[in-house]
């Protein structure tokens, strides 16, 4: 069933359109940065953006910081919201279920396909942004001295290419885990309603609320439990030594959301009437 879901995902033009959109944003930003060479002031704008001007090899990390807060979660929410509700409104859900495909198996396969999508999208963004970065900013430091294409970490210490690859790998893994929470929320809502749009909107409403509360000091008490609280913690991979604290917490909170919401989706979907 997982294979079937993957085939469905990757034979769907939509998948590639979304991935292309995700790759497009960093590309546009890179073009503007490269032509104007005006870096955002420190601490504002996307993370790493001021650093990429001196070394394009860091652009994949900057690209992640660009797509992570909005674009990626939105696309995951849309796809996950469509997962069950979309099949229901297309009339294919009932045919899958009478095949028969177990309802729990269907949910798990949907989630795995979503993870595959996130991986695919991130890798696409990383590859295109690396190429963009090296092409537009160059991998040599701006001073012009011939040096290996080492990247400076946020702590000022050099990261070797191998270290950079490892950290990017960690980033990819962390972002996939972060998106699991989004996927679980949207997937649950997708089993509640037959409207794919409704499910996606519902998930986005949760995320926006969470994002607003994260920036609100008055909500400090609940912040550690918000799904988006540790979304940007992967930036800590680029400190030296790596700051694991938020990364660990981020993974923990996503696993909790995944468990609870997938459980709710399972409890709801397996005992629900499929009337569409």
């Amino acid at each position: 069933m997982i294979r079937v879901e993957l085939v469905k995902m990757f034979r769907r033009p939509r998948t590639y359109v979304v991935a292309a959109l995700l790759c497009g944003l960093p590309l546009i930003v890179a073009v503007f940065l490269a032509t104007t060479r005006i870096p955002p002031p420190p601490g504002q704008g996307g993370a790493f953006l001021s650093a990429v001007l001196s070394n394009g090899a860091l652009y994949p990390a900057a690209a992640m910081a660009l797509v992570m807060p909005v674009f990626l979660p939105v696309s995951v929410a849309v796809l996950a919201g469509d997962a069950v509700a979309g099949e229901a409104s297309a009339g294919t859900l009932r045919y899958l279920l009478v095949r028969p495909v177990g309802r729990t198996r269907l949910l798990v396969a949907k989630l795995v396909a979503l993870v595959a999508f996130v991986l695919f999208a991130i890798v696409a963004v990383l590859v295109t942004s690396y190429l963009t970065g090296v092409a537009l900013f160059g991998s040599e430091p701006a001073a012009g001295v011939a040096l290996p294409a080492d990247v400076t970490s946020m702590s000022g210490v050099t990261i070797t290419p191998a270290g950079l690859a490892l950290r990017l790998l960690g980033t990819v893994a962390y972002i996939v885990v972060s998106m699991l929470g989004v996927a679980a929320i949207a997937l649950f809502l997708s089993t509640v309603t037959d409207s794919a749009l409704g499910a996606a909107m519902g998930a986005l409403a949760v995320l926006v609320t969470s994002q607003v509360l994260v920036t609100l000091d008055a909500a400090a008490a609940v912040q550690p439990y918000l799904p988006t609280r540790y979304w940007l913690a992967w930036i800590d991979f680029f400190r030296d030594p790596i700051l694991w604290r938020d990364i660990e917490r981020g993974v923990g909170i996503q696993v909790v959301y995944l468990l609870v919401l997938l459980g709710a989706a399972w409890a709801n979907f397996t005992t629900r009437d499929v009337t569409n």
């Binding site: 069933m1 294979r3 079937v4 085939v7 469905k8 034979r11 769907r12 033009p13 297309a90 009339g91 294919t92 859900l93 009932r94 045919y95 899958l96 279920l97 009478v98 095949r99 028969p100 495909v101 177990g102 005992t271 009437d273 499929v274 009337t275």
Partner: protein, 302 residues
Amino acid sequence: MIVTRGLTKTYGRVTAVDGVGLDVHAGDRYGLLGPNGSGKTTLVRMLLGLVFATRGEIEVLGLPVPRRVRDVLPSVGAMVEGPGAYPHLSGRANLTLFDAAGPGGGRRDRRRRVDEALDRVGLAGIDRRPVRAYSLGMRQRLGLAAALLRRPRLLILDEPTNGLDPRGIREIRDLLTELNTDGTTVFLSSHLLGEIEALCTRVGVMDRGRLVLQDDLATLRAPTGRVLVGTPDTDRAVALLDGRVERSDGGTLTVRHPDPAALNAELVAAGVRVSAVAAERRSLEQVVLDATTTSADRVEAA
């Protein structure tokens, strides 16, 4: 094959299916007749474990549903409320996906199964066009092909001939009859009386959630004990059959008589010219009208 007892489904305050006791025997071509909104689709969905009953029991292929539905469904081919397919994929790709999704289908002979199913429903020559570009009839055939993928012992089809032209309807009817002869039990629902009359051996009639009638078609249509006689000599015939003529309508007499052949002999012997003679049978339409009260989509003033 299918047995339900007191099957009831309520949505909120609306009772969609009310105390239905379905009984489909092995080898039947069972037709479930009823107007739109009479609960046919809900009933079919309950049989397939898509919708859960409020009360009552279901047994399909001897196993309880929904508890053992996963053991039942592999031997059931189903089409529920119109075909469903991924519009951006070709028909063949759709069938391949559905085949791969279910259990029991080996990967090696998947291609052969898909081709066979397409061939059966008359889609052997479809190309790589996406389903989006199919006509409703083609989609209907594709849905039927999906139901046939696993050579099921039981076919449960909800409105299988929707969107087909008369020739298509005929082809599907022949296909179902052929499958039935090979041992497949066919359960289909329709709001088209003629279709069921032409295909089925057993009929159930749904009316506003209730199964108001369930019997063999032959029994329902048993001779009424009357004979229809066509004759130009109506006056002489009426005189001869004195008192046995119930109705005279133009050149047609309705006569209470058990045997058309004997009646014919009697009339001819008396010199009455007979242009037609046939035992009167109730039409299915008459049966249905007798069993139901009012049209389901009619809204009476309070």
